[in-house]
């Protein structure tokens, strides 16, 4: 592993009759937490697939550390060792009977010796808090566990970047916490994490950088700026995060607010300033 930067430059991707991406630029800095935001059908998944090399682009290029992806056999092979994509529905990615076997699929394809494969599987399961479930059949797992198995399968390739499509969709609050814990461990293990989501509250609290997909283009910036841009958010069919909404309504600065706790701190400061002003 080890962080690397990934960028898409002027990406054009179309299906017959429709251009999904029409000159999309995105930069994922090494180690940066990027949230890719957009409504369903906006092209988030298409962008992730283009960045992962799964989808050929009509024009534009994808670069890892500034080096353009070549779509030759060996070029794609190298890219896939660096960038791994995990789609939303785990059931459309898992195909083996049990957890360890599914996770070992990638390392086996790297022609590693058996003990190296086992080591990687163990490491990936550890990072995703799945070690206890290694021998369990996949169909017995919960939805949240299956999502983490799909990620473990990608992580076992030891990529520098993992792109996750809606990693928290369909998870209950405890499942979301477990997923966020796993993402934190991935980062600690020097893997750059990108998530695509339409959960604006989650994006605000987790990400440093936001990239909104609208009309085939990408608008990228600091997450608070992006999610605070009401015109952009409306065009993207998203909504303003609840805590930013409350702060704006109450007339306090939204800067630095990422979640309920930071909003509470800001409101307390405002209240104490108000009280001081009233006293003086």
């Amino acid at each position: 592993m080890g962080h690397l930067s990934l960028s898409g430059n002027g990406l054009v991707v179309g299906y017959p009759g429709r251009r999904v991406l029409d000159g999309a630029d995105i930069v994922i800095p090494a180690g940066g937490r990027v949230a890719l935001l957009g409504a369903n059908g906006s092209g988030k998944t298409t962008l992730l697939r283009a960045l992962s090399g799964a989808l050929p682009v009509e024009s534009g290029d994808v670069r890892v550390d500034g080096v353009p992806l070549r779509r030759s056999r060996s070029g794609l092979r190298a890219h896939r060792r660096t960038v791994q994509l995990v789609l939303q529905d785990p059931d459309d990615q898992l195909f083996a009977a049990d957890v360890a076997r599914d996770v070992s699929f990638g390392p086996m394809n790297l022609d590693l010796p058996p003990d190296e494969v086992a080591a990687r599987v163990g490491e990936a399961l550890e990072l995703l808090a799945l070690s206890d479930l290694a021998d369990r059949p996949i169909h017995e797992l919960s939805f949240g566990q299956r999502k983490r198995v799909a990620i473990a399968g990608a992580v076992a390739m030891r990529p520098c970047l993992v792109l996750l499509d809606e990693p928290t969709a369909g998870l209950d609050p405890a499942g979301v916490q477990e997923m966020l814990g796993a993402l934190a461990r991935l980062e600690a293990a020097d893997t750059t994490v990108v998530i695509a989501t339409h959960d604006v509250d989650l994006a605000l609290s987790w990400a440093h950088i936001g990239a909104v997909v609208v009309d085939g283009a990408v608008y990228q910036g600091e997450i608070a700026d992006v999610l605070g841009n009401r015109e952009l958010i409306a065009r993207a069919r998203l909504r303003t995060p609840t805590v930013l909404d409350i702060a704006a309504e109450l007339g306090v600065s939204t800067r630095g607010i990422t979640d309920a706790a930071s909003l509470v701190v800001r409101l307390r400061e405002a209240a104490s300033r108000g009280a001081e002003r009233a006293e003086s």
């Binding site: 299906y15 017959p16 009759g17 998944t45 697939r49 992962s52 090399g53 799964a54 056999r73 092979r77 896939r80 060792r81 791994q84 994509l85 789609l87 529905d89 059931d91 459309d92 990615q93 898992l94 195909f95 083996a96 699929f105 990638g106 394809n109 790297l110 799909a150 399968g153 990608a154 390739m157």
Partner: protein
């Protein structure tokens, strides 16, 4: 990831979508029959041109879509015609040759196949499968068979999404690098698709129980008014192509 098929999409979006199936069958199958039966010149060419004009100008199927979805059948037509083009001589050891007759046969074959394929395409790109299956019920195909086909149609698209995604996930983890691994991955993919199809069937059965599913799948039949002008014009086109083709074949038959 999409579970869409280009011709199917064209059929649902077609301006002829609401025409009765029988009308479209008459025109399309009539042209197919002309392409198969008539002497090659000018009958087959006429049938092909009529199908092409009807497709692009009247039924307004996008030309790009037509070109793209004809790629696969064209490959088969090309290989088959090349095989006919090259003749094998056995009398004097084994040797290959191209003769005047084999060139003629190959060109005629390619022409018939192309014209016929365009005729089938005229039906396929204007008639959604749902309507076609409903009309089969009307001509007396047992309900059980039509309903099985109808579930097949719906499930093709949900399964296609799964299958394409699993394949992509395997490819991302280098499952298709090299022959041995590719066969192994294809096996895993086939098994996963089979399990998904069973699972989907079981869940659909449970899901439909609440609306009274008891093994049959009745839906409201739709009536579509027959358009006499369309029928007459179609009949005229086919008779004209057939007549001209038969007469012209006798006159200038080559």
């Amino acid at each position: 990831m999409s579970g869409r098929l280009a011709i199917d999409e064209a059929a649902w979006a077609s301006p002829w979508r609401t025409r009765p199936v029988a009308e479209k069958l008459l025109l399309a199958l009539g042209l197919v029959a002309c392409a198969v039966v008539l002497p090659p010149w000018p009958g087959v060419v006429l049938a092909g041109v009529c199908a092409l004009v009807a497709l692009l100008m009247v039924a307004r199927v996008p030309a790009r879509l037509l070109a793209r979805s004809l790629r696969a059948p064209l490959a088969f037509i090309a290989i088959g015609s090349l095989t006919v083009l090259v003749t094998v001589q056995l009398d004097d050891g084994l040797s290959l040759a191209i003769t005047e007759q084999s060139v003629y046969d190959a060109v005629v074959l390619a022409g018939r196949a192309l014209a016929g394929t365009l005729g089938v395409y005229l039906l396929a790109a204007t008639t959604p499968m749902g309507d076609l299956l409903a009309s089969m019920r009307r001509i007396g195909v047992p309900a059980a068979c039509v309903e099985v086909a109808s579930v097949t149609y719906r499930m093709v698209f949900t399964l296609l999404v799964s299958t394409r995604q699993i394949r992509e996930a395997q490819a991302a983890r280098l499952g298709y690098s090299g022959y041995r691994r590719s066969v192994h991955s294809a096996g895993g993919l086939t098994a996963a698709t089979l399990v998904r199809s069973w699972d989907r069937a079981r869940r659909l059965e449970e899901g439909l129980a609440g609306r009274g599913y008891d093994g049959t799948l009745p839906t409201l039949p739709r009536s579509q008014a027959t358009s006499m002008p369309f029928v007459l014009l179609s009949a005229f086109v086919i008779v004209a192509v057939a007549g001209l083709g038969a007469w012209g074949g006798g006159q200038w038959g080559i």
